[in-house]
Symmetry: C2
Subunit: 509 residues, 2 copies
């Protein structure tokens, strides 16, 4: 459903905000050129969808008139085509952080027109509050209502909104009437703050709440309230393909092995984090098939698959940064919001991805990747080492701090022209120190407690059979050099697979 | 002073341990072939120095007789030539983790004879307790005494000793009578445990204590007590050279800039961590010259420089993993142990390097490195991408979690044949996401809030003038490619500087 302006003011329960109601077009006029703007939005959920397109229209008009208009976008995570997409298309994005998925913005970033900085999702708020990104001028935040007391009811994600509301000089609120009013109470809002004023975070179990269901805002800073009706734009959920299913089965086999060895609590595991998309869904489906019940998740996103596991009792409690559901799953969620509200906590990303909490409760982190090298260094972001895909998101938060850190990928991409296991990762987002287990459809490589040579043997064994002999040959020749070292490499060949792909369209010789 | 066996039993205050006193040679017989052995020792301090040489002699005898004898060494951090050195020379080290500096061991590691795994110093204990390294058979731990109650008084480092004592089946204690008895009480011993039983860590300020001055041990597991007299082997302290002094001055200039901008508390900064060696000492000296008083350190090592800053009031409180002093500084420490004990806390490395605490109290992390690339990816460990130097140590703990993360290096090595700023780091220990500031003798590159292209410009500006045009040329040509991407690189040239050095002895063409 396309977003549209509405006139229903029933969600604005504090009357002082009624006088600030205006159109999206009027609100878009309030954002100055050069502004640093904090947006709501995390995995496409909870984004303001009306003001950004008007801002993009305004930018185009100004550009046509020979005037500058660009802003910096600081978000939660990825937003929506109606945020990143329209603004990138209007050439109105000077700078972007911390994560995106939009293809227009990707083109702007990879051409160098838009400066993009890739930041751990847990870390951005603290760095912004410390002043490392400059003064935040505006915040454009979707909420689902304003209480009688003037508190804000968050939407399907909280992201960095509590901090954006604190720091921004001017605040534009989009009050979205389409989200179920029963979302009120599901959120656990708090601010982490920065040193020297930080305190221990009181989350000792997935279900612990430390904050309030509402976000605070200084009403004097609110310059506009826009009334909208806009569903989150979430793609339909695809059933797992054979590769994803095999990966999911290998993950389950690994977890069963750990249980059997006494290295994980039997039948309950530890809190799970799983990334986004087909592979993550296949892993969750594998856990359900394996008969697990009463699991916990401390994760970033609840997609359809996880929602159904909650319904079925496979997952008892899920802490998340966002709820990102397809229309069918939204219907299911609405069917029994009261039930789901007891099993779901929505947190700001400072907390959903917090290293202190992830370490304490012992999260099993499972993330996708683009490629890993034979020693377990992982590239999550850069296609052929140069082209930005989406950013690291929260993968580093979980990989570094997880009790067990698992990376998942199909063994090839582009119909076999790209091997996901390479001699040397062309960009490194997660180092060998933070990679414990790598899983492809050919099995899992357990890198824990292993030196690089033993890691290489384990990694080569899960590569695609077409590439295994090539990897083995590289590794053997690297080891046979006069001074092989701790991590044997042939420097003149280390990046040759990527170079070959760029020049010939395949990593195969 | 060479370590030697003594007969003075006055430090063994619990009489039950007296019956376990034996010679180092006898104790060395108790370690089985293939054992996983936990050693004490951190930056050469607090190592057992008598049993390991006897173990090495035994290994040589067995090898000469055609028998196998190898062990795995799990330590705190680097030990002493009488630990890693003698055992590596005897070809008795099958596996080593997490950090070392010994040249014999380095040769064994880089030839592939000894498997070495490079692990964050904060993380090893948890991974071992979780069972990722197998069952610990023995622990060989230096202590400075055994109390009436049978508790152990730690030595000049605690390392991972509390956990090794908990996990090992057999324990050999070296009771070192040369360390001042006044060390008793300076330690803050605790165990972090693993999920799901972890709790928040109650360290909210550098001076907070959460544990006991003593380590627990099950007396039934103690199979040997060896009485020794052995000073820590610490090299003389060198005055800073011009390059180190310039780096220190640039660090101070950066910190002053941050104070002036309101991004650091005025005159007090935040707790400092600084690495080991000349550059770290030069930074501390620069802070003293700049007139700072009452600073705090949350760091891994107290070397001579930091001890004198405590004496002079520049540093008021220092939490550390080890005290590693030259003979002159040991004399100064003993001159007024009562004073120093009020200003120093010695912690296990699970706590001295703990990410939760580092984030909470906002540590300013300052670490050396081998090289960084123009985008701020840092290589701390691998010479020319293959040869292991020492390991990452705690650099990752502080770089990822610090309020500000600073890397320090002279702009060149090997008389200018190696540039410390390169197109593409030949090994990556700290990714672009964790590098905020890089300092050479030519200035500081502030990478915070910057996209890769802007980071490259800042990094090239602090490279050695001989290499600046080469870096600029690489960067310009990379950006001029048809598809430059987020992080422009020329894949066929990215590692060519390292390859050239290996082949010609210089990175210069």
């Amino acid at each position: 459903m396309e977003a549209r302006e509405v006139t229903d003011t029933s969600r604005v329960r504090n009357k002082a905000f009624l006088s600030k109601i205006m159109s999206a077009e009027q609100a878009a006029e309030l954002v100055p050129n050069g502004a640093i703007v904090g947006f709501s939005g995390f995995v496409g959920s909870g984004c303001p969808l009306l003001v950004p397109p008007k801002l993009a229209e305004r930018a185009k008009r100004l550009h046509a008139a020979g005037q500058d208009f660009k802003i910096s976008i600081l978000s939660g995570a990825s937003t929506d085509p109606n945020v990143d997409g329209v603004l990138a298309e209007a050439e109105a994005v000077a700078f972007r952080t911390p994560f995106f998925t939009d293809k227009n913005l990707r083109a702007a970033v990879n051409s160098g027109k838009t400066g993009y900085m890739d930041v751990h999702l847990s870390s951005l708020a603290g760095q912004v509050e410390a002043g490392f990104f400059g003064k935040m001028d505006c915040a454009i935040i979707e909420v689902t209502g304003i209480t009688e007391e003037g508190k804000l009811i968050p939407s399907t994600s909280i992201g960095n909104n509590p901090l954006w509301l604190k720091l921004a000089d001017k605040i534009i609120l989009e009050v979205n009437t389409i989200q179920p009013p029963e979302l009120e109470g599901i959120h656990d809002v708090a601010l982490l703050g920065i040193a020297p004023n930080r305190k221990p975070i009181g989350i000792n179990r997935v279900s612990d709440r430390i904050g309030s269901p509402y976000m605070d805002v200084d009403p004097n800073k609110v310059v506009a309230v826009v009334l909208t009706e806009s569903g989150d734009r979430v793609n339909k959920f695809n059933p797992p393909d054979p590769v994803s299913t095999a990966i999911g089965d290998h993950v389950v086999a690994f977890l069963k092995q750990e249980e059997a060895a006494g290295r994980l609590p039997k039948g309950r595991l530890l809190p799970l984090q799983s990334g986004i998309g087909n592979v993550a869904n296949a892993v969750l489906a594998g856990l359900a098939r394996a008969g697990y019940r009463g699991l916990e998740c401390y994760t970033e996103v609840i997609q359809d698959g996880l929602l159904y596991l909650i319904r079925d009792g496979v997952v008892d409690m899920a802490s998340t940064a966002t709820i990102s559901l397809s229309p069918d799953a939204v219907a299911e969620f609405r069917r029994d919001v009261a039930f789901y509200s007891k099993h779901i906590i929505l947190r700001p990303q400072e907390f959903s991805n917090n290293p202190e909490v992830i370490r304490r409760i012992g999260v099993i982190g499972m993330n996708g990747m683009l490629e890993a090298d034979i020693y377990g260094n992982v590239n999550s972001t850069h296609i052929m080492g140069t082209g930005m895909m989406n950013g690291i998101g929260g993968s580093g938060d979980f990989a570094r701090n997880g009790y067990i850190s698992i990376f998942l990928t199909g063994s090839t991409a582009k119909n076999g022209a790209i091997s996901s296991i390479v001699p040397f990762a062309a960009h490194i987002d997660h180092t060998e120190h933070d990679t414990m287990v790598v899983v492809t459809e050919y099995g899992f490589a357990d890198l824990r407690g292993k030196c690089p040579r033993d890691r290489a043997r384990a990694m080569i064994a899960i590569a695609h059979p077409d590439y295994r002999p090539m990897l083995q040959d590289y590794f053997d020749r690297a080891c046979a050099q006069p001074k092989p070292g701790q991590t044997p490499h042939i420097l003149s060949e280390a990046l040759s697979w990527h170079d070959r792909y760029v020049k010939t369209g395949t990593m195969k010789p």
